[in-house]
């Protein structure tokens, strides 16, 4: 059995001995000239802006942005600055929080 396999492998390995050379089509030269004249001599397998690549790039940018936005760490310094700003605004525009009692204390007591 193993000898059969070895023989078969040798047969396959020698199957390209004395193979004839493959020939191009008779129109090879004329199509080559056409291509050269058309200036289409650049290889066509580089990076290209095909829709698939463009969408993939946009998708990648979108996911990266969302990820960064959701995972943005808020520092203690940022928090205290925000509180300070709010306080300044409140002071400047007299936006003190007023409870119903402070607004009309007599009415409030009457209801109670």
């Amino acid at each position: 059995m193993k000898q059969d396999v070895t023989q078969q492998v040798e047969k396959v390995l020698n199957s390209l001995d004395q193979v004839n050379r493959a020939s191009v089509s008779p129109y090879f030269y004329s199509s080559l000239r056409r291509r050269m004249e058309a200036g289409n001599a650049q290889p066509q397998h580089g990076f290209s802006l095909q829709p698939a690549y463009t969408i993939l790039a946009l998708l990648f940018l979108f996911v990266t942005n969302v990820y960064l936005l959701l995972n943005q760490p808020v520092t203690q310094e940022q928090k205290s600055t925000e509180v300070e700003e709010q306080t300044q605004w409140k002071t400047e525009y007299a936006l003190q929080e007023v409870t119903p009692y402070q607004e009309n204390p007599i009415e409030w007591v009457a209801i109670k």
Partner: protein
């Protein structure tokens, strides 16, 4: 050693004579096509590679120094271009799923590599040759190039060394490893039920 005819042809090519370019293409077109076909294993891709090779020869003949034979230089360009195409094909496969959504029928490769039959193989050896060609496709790049140049183009190990810019012992070792790998691949395939 470069012959006088070859030196004349190179000079005429450097002067940009169209008749010289035509005679260069006629002289080397089958060499280029057959080598490319052995590596890329697809007839239209091989023709595309062959065209690119002649365009590159036309553009860079000015830089060619007649120290090496013209055929050695052309073999080198051919194998490089053919391997470039294989790499591009591999990266295309990675994006294949996404690309298939936008590709039209004409753009997608119609021929299947595993179905490839070399046109120069005789009818009685066709089946075995197809098995060998499929196995060659699985070899690493250097081994593939060396094996194709030896088997399909009949180049000696010394000529292969010149084309690949290697030493003779390096090519001998490359061919030895190529045979070992091919044996392994074929044994596995043949003994499988």
């Amino acid at each position: 050693m470069v012959s006088q005819d070859e030196l004349d042809l190179i000079e005429r090519l450097k002067r940009g004579e169209e008749s010289a370019f035509r005679s260069l293409v006629e002289q080397y077109q089958d060499l280029v096509y057959n080598t490319a076909l052995g590596v890329v294993q697809n007839e239209s891709d091989a023709e595309d590679v062959a065209q690119e090779v002649f365009i590159q020869v036309f553009r860079s003949i000015g830089t060619f120094k007649s120290e090496a034979k013209l055929s050695t230089w052309i073999y080198r360009i051919t194998t490089t271009r053919a391997l470039d195409l294989l790499r591009a094909r591999k990266s295309k496969k990675r994006f294949g799923l996404l690309k298939r959504l936008w590709e039209t029928e004409e753009e997608s490769p119609v021929e299947n590599i595993s179905d490839f039959n070399h046109p120069g193989v005789s009818l009685e050896r066709k089946e075995e040759a197809a098995q060998l060609i499929t196995a060659i496709a699985q070899l690493p790049e250097n081994q593939k190039v060396a094996f194709v140049l030896h088997k399909l183009e009949g180049l000696s190990y010394l000529e292969i060394a010149e084309v690949m810019g290697n030493t003779l012992p390096a090519v001998e070792s490359l061919m030895h490893r190529a045979r070992l790998n091919l044996r392994k691949i074929l044994e596995k395939k043949i003994s499988a039920p």
